[in-house]
Amino acid sequence: MIEGAKWRRWVYFYIPLGGFLIWLLFPFYWMLITTVRPDGELYRPWNAPNYTPFWTSNPTFEHISYLFTETLFATWLWNTMVIALAATAISLVCGVFAGYALSRLKFPFAGSLGTMIFVTYLVPQTLLFIPLADIIRNFRIGDSPWALILTYPTFLIPFCTWLMMGYFKAIPKELEECARIDGASRWQAMVYIILPVAVPGILSAGIFAFTLSWNEFIYALVFLSSPQEKTVPVGVVSELIRGDVFFWGPLMAGALLGSIPVAIAYSFFVEHYVSGLTGSVKG
């Protein structure tokens, strides 16, 4: 905390913090205000006499109801949710076990294997979708949720593995040794001792994986084509921008509603999530 006179606290703490918050939250505010602004105000020129860009006097829900009645937004939400949850579940299971093995078991090339997994994470998705598209076509799972459920783990598993590796390394190995002396097999020691202790790490890996799949754009754009199969990021962009016409109200309403589940997920687990990232294990 800043010590000394009150003005120092304002100058060095509250004012910079306030500025930072405004900078950070303004896009969300803009999203919100555009969502509830009627079309009449949205397309008013800047030099009109009652031009009020930062607030509105006639809030409306017409854009939201448009989204649910005139587009497949509810279906997109459902698709995104199913795909994100399934991809996260697959990636978490693989990532937790792989991370445990790479950080705890001694086997040849464990170190280089870990590095290789990380390198695959570094391959940009914008390149990887080309070979993946071929695979998707060969397996005939294009334009179905499976196309995404099975391809998202290609970047989620390396990510989860690395996050969990770091977390497992921070757990004292004596805990596990003690459990094994106490009569647990390696598997039991992992299930009863290491995994419960690693819950914050698993939660943060899960939240991250969920967010990444929820927001994913390029695979969803390439692998899905029918409107009823689309996810929120792709659906909103492809159905609400027609040619060069931007339907700003429904677009922003879609973006707002699309970010709410992620925001809920974060705020729900925020404490676990922070301690997971800082890797604190208190004995």
Binding site: E177, C178, G183
Partner: protein, 363 residues
């Protein structure tokens, strides 16, 4: 309860030979302490007994069974770790019950054993707490309790007291001793603290660089150290060493250097005889030095220049220089002396030690 037998035990890490040809028989109900500076192989030896490290060569027997390939869970041992290794997500009760649950004990039997162990250790009131809500001493007790409930054949302790503050450490040391008295379980205890080793061990194993230097009961190590390392390691403050030359003068032998000339007592003249005319190391413990009085033989006295006076209350430690070597003398608190004075010290000839200058083995 069981004896533990180590036969020709070796541990190689990739390029490092950590434990070298360790042979040790630990009797049933015995409390054996492995002591040595860090990196001496004591913890590795303990971890091999526990089954946490693979053995490179040699054998370990617990009871009459060779356990070389046996996983830790089947060895019927309990281990207390330096950082306690309490399971942070479990209550104290669950921590203690975990080993029994893993071994499929009946609920009632688990409760009974946890009750007995927590009574012994005085932690009944803490059973519902989580480890993070406990102080260091309490955690230590829980870790002990977790070992006790199992009623194993052997207790293994890996520096269990070194994370406690000095006062608590002394207190827990006494409790450990009482606990062993009461339970009678064979125990192997690793520490780098020679005081802990001396107070707890029925026998003490001094290790250095992977080799066992000497095995013996505490007083034997103190009175008859096998080499210069053991002599310097056991005892606090450590033994004084002075490089001397053994000189023959008729029937008598003298140990001399530019600062002192000490007559070798008759009892060890024969042993020291072959070394006459050669270099050796003289060793004398601080408590075997005193201010010279009229009763002291001139051949056991020498002048010393006082450099530091440390008043500890029950005794005074004098850091003195004697010719080229520096020494510490422990004298009664009644002695009045000041820094930079020259005093005359006498040594107890029965308590002199001599070590070979090259091999450092006791002569």
């Amino acid at each position: 309860m069981a004896r533990v037998l180590l036969r020709n035990l070796n541990k190689h890490y990739e390029t490092f030979h950590a434990v070298k040809d360790v042979d040790l028989e630990i009797q049933d109900r015995e409390f054996v302490v492995l002591v040595g500076p860090s990196g001496c192989g004591k913890t590795t030896t303990l971890r091999m007994i526990a089954g946490l490290e693979a053995i490179t060569s040699g054998e370990i027997l617990i009871g009459d069974t060779v356990v070389n390939e046996m996983p830790p869970m089947d060895r019927d041992i309990a281990m207390v770790f330096q950082n306690y290794a309490l399971y942070p997500h479990m209550s104290v009760r669950d921590n203690m019950a975990f080993g029994l649950k893993m071994r499929k004990f009946e609920r009632a039997e688990i409760d009974r054993r946890v009750k007995i162990a927590s009574d012994i250790l005085g932690i009944e009131a803490l059973l519902h707490r989580k480890p993070r809500q406990l102080s260091g001493g309490q955690r230590q007790r829980v870790a002990l309790g977790r070992a006790i409930v199992r009623n194993p054949q052997v207790f293994l302790f890996d520096e269990p007291l070194s994370n406690l503050d000095a006062k608590l450490r002394v207190q827990m040391r006494v409790e450990l001793k009482k606990l062993h008295e009461r339970l009678g379980t064979t125990a192997v205890y690793v520490t780098h603290d020679q005081v802990e080793a001396m107070t707890l061990g029925d026998r003490v194993v001094v290790m250095k660089d992977g080799w066992v230097q000497q095995v013996g009961d505490p007083l034997e190590l103190y009175n008859n150290p096998a080499n210069k390392f053991v002599a310097g390691f056991i005892g606090s403050p450590g033994m004084n060493f002075a490089a001397v030359t053994i000189e023959r003068d008729g029937d008598a032998l003298w140990a001399a250097n530019p600062g002192m000339r000490v007559r070798v007592p008759d009892a060890i003249v024969t042993r020291l005889g072959p070394h006459s005319g050669r270099a050796a190391t003289l060793g004398i413990r601080p408590e075997d030095l005193h201010i010279a009085g009229p009763a002291d033989d001139a051949g056991h006295c020498f002048d010393a220049h006082v450099e530091v006076v440390e008043r500890l209350g029950s005794e005074i430690l004098l850091d003195v220089s004697v010719g080229p070597s520096s020494m510490v003398a422990s004298v009664p608190p009644t002695v009045r002396t000041k820094m930079h004075e020259t005093i005359r010290l006498a040594l107890d000839p029965e308590r002199l030690h001599f070590f070979d200058a090259e091999t450092e083995a006791a002569i």
